[in-house]
Assembly symmetry: D2
């Protein structure tokens, strides 16, 4: 395809893309059926399938491991622009990123520990994550406040002697139900009297800490996403040593900002890969299915669905690549306009494209035979996770309204 | 509200509406939490909750029973226009229609048996349904053909002596997994050489007939809708006596047409009730939730979501009521344009409104605490069930393109 | 068409509809070409065509005159619900309402004078309007303030002895450039210290008053709508006797509210008639035009354009009829929700439908051979005139957010 | 802005962009008011304003001339990717491209003559165009056939001895009414029996050829775009020497294809510049206008309009730059997918953005005080000119449906 070579990858990134694509086609995508069968068995679905670990070993053996990590010593050392197309390839299957140790929320947590963690924190928590031996959760959102305005976050992290004690109810903590989940990074208030963006801190809370309780698993539409899952987690006086605090008191927002930029690019690129796959499924269906005496491919509305999807995917891809490049060159602050735009654009695009694919598949698109319904649920959730569309629209508008020259781009 | 009194209900319908509304608020809606708890228990979720039977008894005792049935002897004897607002009230909760013995696909099957069934068929199959003692399935759609073009239906119903033998694979047979399901009405080909609309027949196949096998349950966006469920059903040489055929060989399309009109009105009005409830939830959330220092109710995009939803619901409601009146006055053929329009309009409207409500609820809207995610799945399925949007758009267009004066309405 | 007979017109209204339709087809629509030719001649286009006066005479002779006026003595005495379908018939042609003395802004001004004018005002200003001998303007909107918030209106109407003196700049005063325009009704501040809704008054200002100056004609998408036109009008110390004030000082908003309800219904029904005609044009074009070897009528996107338009028109029509009935039964206050909805719905619907018709007509749709481009401009203007969409969305939302039960409509 | 520097311009292109931007701000945009005044004067509006010639002289003196022309000897010698951002800068004002001798249809005609014209044709017709002394028309579209399917074109170009004789009716020939228009390039059938894409040829027809008649000027919405204008042109036995044929008989489609690629990129980039200016106007209005006690900038729907517009502009810009680069690298055939996409995307984007700007401007946005209404008309026309959206959607879909791997873009 001609469009994308505008951002020509480095030779190394191109090589990785090719190997990743091969692995996806030969190993990961064919495994989906086995995972579906595993998932259909109530007796074991909350356990991790051995096949997953096997695929992880294979990926690591091929050097397709920790590709997201910009640190060349511990990860692939790729720029955001180099990694972005790789995220799209992995994103074609919802389970695949984990195969390459590139799945949220672990990626974000690894970046937090890499950039802001102490050497001791890194040794204890980061290394097992990098090795794919543990998983982790990010405990940010709360059921009782509008977390879209993060200053609302009400969890309390109280100093008590040499410890911190956590009182909180968090939800949508992805990975909370995973048997391998080793710890949570918890965002909470350490000083309610500080200025709004200095009130919060981030704390590592091991999952087996007394007072940490999985209140319940959550579903997205009807999916519980076992075994990883999304949990509501109660922190009822959970006590950890003071050295579990990351970076320092009042630094929570600073850490969150650093975590968000790459995370949004990863999410968006994965969605672009998912939308591409939905488009391919649409095309495949249109070519093979006959209704009213003609293949779907000959019907105008089906053609329009395909063409519109293509236009939307390609635009979102270019914008996300542009945001990745902006992040590489200008840092999180310089890239915030571009990153705000992709956060608005990509999930809605993916919802539209996948929804069209569902419609063209008819009943088959709604159920479990296809990846589509589950993919829709995942894409739809990302219009809410990490700030709903509306918050990002308002933030983007304010960037322009503040500075009347900002929207010019000669 | 002033808009709706344009179609002033008859005194009897008004009385029923009021009692139904009271029952919904006092009995049915409060039971949703209990049903959710029942559903969360893997050990019994495929059984029918005793609470449901209790609510059914209460509804029947209050005369809120079989309200859909136009036959005054066996049902409420209401016109479609009278019944439509009652369907909207029941539709506010996904499980509620069954409480009043007004849920699909039983309603359609009861109408088929009432209008086209023999006395013996009525005695054996209709009466228990009317009494709410059994349930039933409608086995129409097939996985291997585009059933949107019903002439594609490939199931074979072969005469063999005094029997018919069925070879078919059907799916999306709602109720197939319900333990009370007593029989299926199966659509299949009895004469492949007849003209396209005379090839098919409808046959009653008791569920316990040898050769009938539930191949698997199906999900809609992750929901299996236990215990009613949606099944893929294999008919592998299932043999039933010839008197199980409804109306006669080659009459399948004729029966289907008579079944569809009221069924679409019921579906659409239920969706309108569901969308109304989503709007109420949106309003409630907007009034109670604070973000960025202001209640959501003060934010322009939230206001617009509410106002747009209101406009869309009201328009869809008026159109559906108009279609109901057209069906009452002009019959299925005279009402086909209006019914085609509501089939296009109402499910998409409900999807939009519910989706907005999900967005305003944030994470809470995606999960199981609210009715919203499940409601979205149900509304989305109705853009496909019973013919996808695209088929109805094309059919509606052809009505106009054939007869250039048809679109005038002085 | 089956949908609309749900609001069966009274026999008298039905008879009027039939005669009006006949007149439109036999006299008014065929005159469009002559008006276009008149308009193309720069020498006379700002004069009124004699053909128009001829058509007016014919319409009046047939009793198709002042049909909008609810007063049976001076007009047709029809309810809003009775008049609404007649407005749709007239609205099929942009110039036609004037033929029947039913065009804005004269209709609104006649209603103001009928309901609120003194006997002397009625004798001098209302009677010639009713007779179709004069025309008038409504001078409300101002270039320098956001008139969507009418409390912003800054025009000064100052008492000076037995006179009022007006200082104002108004624009979008439709009819200001018409040679027959006899007077303006001017909205302005008489008491800047009164509560916001008691500050303004309405004053009759004869057009030939010294100090009244047509600053310039305005265009809508390039159309100046000669000879009626839209003017920017300067009132530079224009002095009129005190008895030219309508109803009393501080009553401006009260009068505006009474004027708006019927006016919005008229506007919306005319747009519905216009959209219907656009749909008919679409169908005609689709049936007659061949591209890529097939008639447009066989192409899926064209079919969808037709079917979607049909659904949208019918819904808007039903909602507008519902609003008309609400206004008849419950008055302006009781109908404000319904009227707010149609103000939002109808102009956007008309824009979409007409835009689709333009697209299907290709180049022919953009120019002067078809009514479409001009119709689009007229419909688009009505998304702004009389309050932009956004103001009505917010107002409608507030109605619901204030009273959480308002959106229920069992 | 960070997004666009991803396609870093060459130093030469960057220098040109800066000088062009300066010229636009200092000379071209301030001249709009003078052009509006000229246009308002019926006596001279069909003549060319001396100010335009003065601006052209100034632009040429500064080397801002023929920037579109890839030929370094006769033009700027820029690649499509280099020229694209310059087109966006010029496109901010509808009249500005002509100032730099970069306006359609002359640019396309110059490219045709450059690539396919004989030396004699170039000397006689190309040189005066390059010098800005003449203008030209492109006579392709016909009123009587669906020209979106160019094989429908019915104009006859008949060989008669040493001449060709043209019988045709063409319309939407932009520039036909311009007093400087020297010739038309006419597309017509030379051999009706050849294969469809070998039937047509292109012929130079001097405007003063006997038998060439301007049937009438056309309008787009209400704009006649004097003095350039859009004409319906009759060719009634117009006779020209045979050496006026370009390239050879039957080469018409080949020439058209070569003309279209760059032309579409120019159109789309100009629209992007126009949309950007509309967004700037929106922001300026939002910051300065107060309604309901708050600046528009504080209102959620206005913010959303700004943010959505920003996202849409940026995506369309990236896609168009990608298409320009594809054209540079892969030629017209290799870039056809990307060019098909921008043809679909950019005009619709511009319509949406400009329409939002109109809405935010209220009445001021509809009239002549702002560039917005005229800009809307221009953008809307480009959804039809050069093939309607629907044709491009279908063509793009077919590219994918033919080759199932085409949509992949790893």
């Amino acid at each position: 395809m001609t469009v994308v070579d505008l951002f020509p990858p480095s030779p190394r990134a191109a090589g990785l893309a090719q190997r990743l694509d091969t692995f996806m086609r030969q190993r990961a995508l064919p495994a989906e059926a086995a995972f579906a069968a595993w998932d259909a068995d109530p007796a074991r679905r909350w356990q991790v399938s051995p096949l997953l670990e096997e695929l992880k070993d294979a990926a690591r053996a091929e050097g397709l491991w920790n590709l997201f990590l910009p640190d060349p010593a511990r990860g692939a050392g790729l720029s955001n622009l180099e990694y972005a197309p790789l995220a799209a390839i992995m994103g074609r299957s919802l389970f695949a990123p984990e195969v390459f140790n590139c799945s949220a929320p672990d990626t974000g947590n690894m970046e937090v520990l890499l950039h802001y963690g102490s050497a001791a924190q890194q040794a204890r928590w980061l290394e097992p994550l990098l090795a794919g031996r543990t998983r982790s959760g990010f405990a940010m959102t709360e059921p009782d406040v509008a977390s879209s305005d993060a200053t609302n976050i009400a969890a309390r992290i109280e100093r008590d002697g040499g410890d911190y004690v956590v009182h909180a109810r968090k939800w949508w903590t992805t990975g909370a139900t995973d048997p391998r989940c080793a710890f949570f990074i918890v965002m909470g208030v350490t000083d309610a009297n500080a200025p709004p963006h200095r009130r919060h801190s981030m704390l590592i809370v091991p999952r087996d800490t007394p007072g940490v309780r999985l209140a319940r698993p959550l579903t997205v539409f009807g999916y519980d996403d076992a075994p990883q899952g999304h949990g509501e987690v109660a922190f009822e006086g959970a006590r950890v040593p003071a050295d579990h605090l990351i970076l320092g008191e009042g630094r929570g927002f600073e850490i969150a900002q650093g975590r968000l930029g790459p995370g949004r690019i990863h999410h968006c690129m994965r969605l672009i890969g998912l939308a591409e796959r939905a488009l391919e499924a649409m095309i495949e269906r249109a070519r093979s299915r006959v209704a009213f005496g003609r293949p779907l491919a000959a019907q105008g509305l089906v053609q329009a669905a395909i063409a519109e999807s293509r236009c939307e995917i390609e635009q979102a891809r270019l914008l996300t690549l542009a945001a990745a490049a902006a992040l590489d060159r200008h840092g999180a602050r310089g890239a915030r306009e571009a990153i705000g735009m992709i956060k608005i654009v990509a999930p809605r695009m993916a919802c539209r494209v996948i929804d069209r694919a569902i419609q063209i598949h008819g009943g088959a698109g709604l159920g479990g035979d296809h990846f589509l319904a589950r993919a829709y649920a995942a894409a739809r959730a990302l219009r809410i996770a990490d700030g709903p569309d509306e918050v990002h629209l308002a933030a983007l508008a304010r960037l322009h309204l503040r500075d009347p020259d900002a929207q010019r781009s000669a």
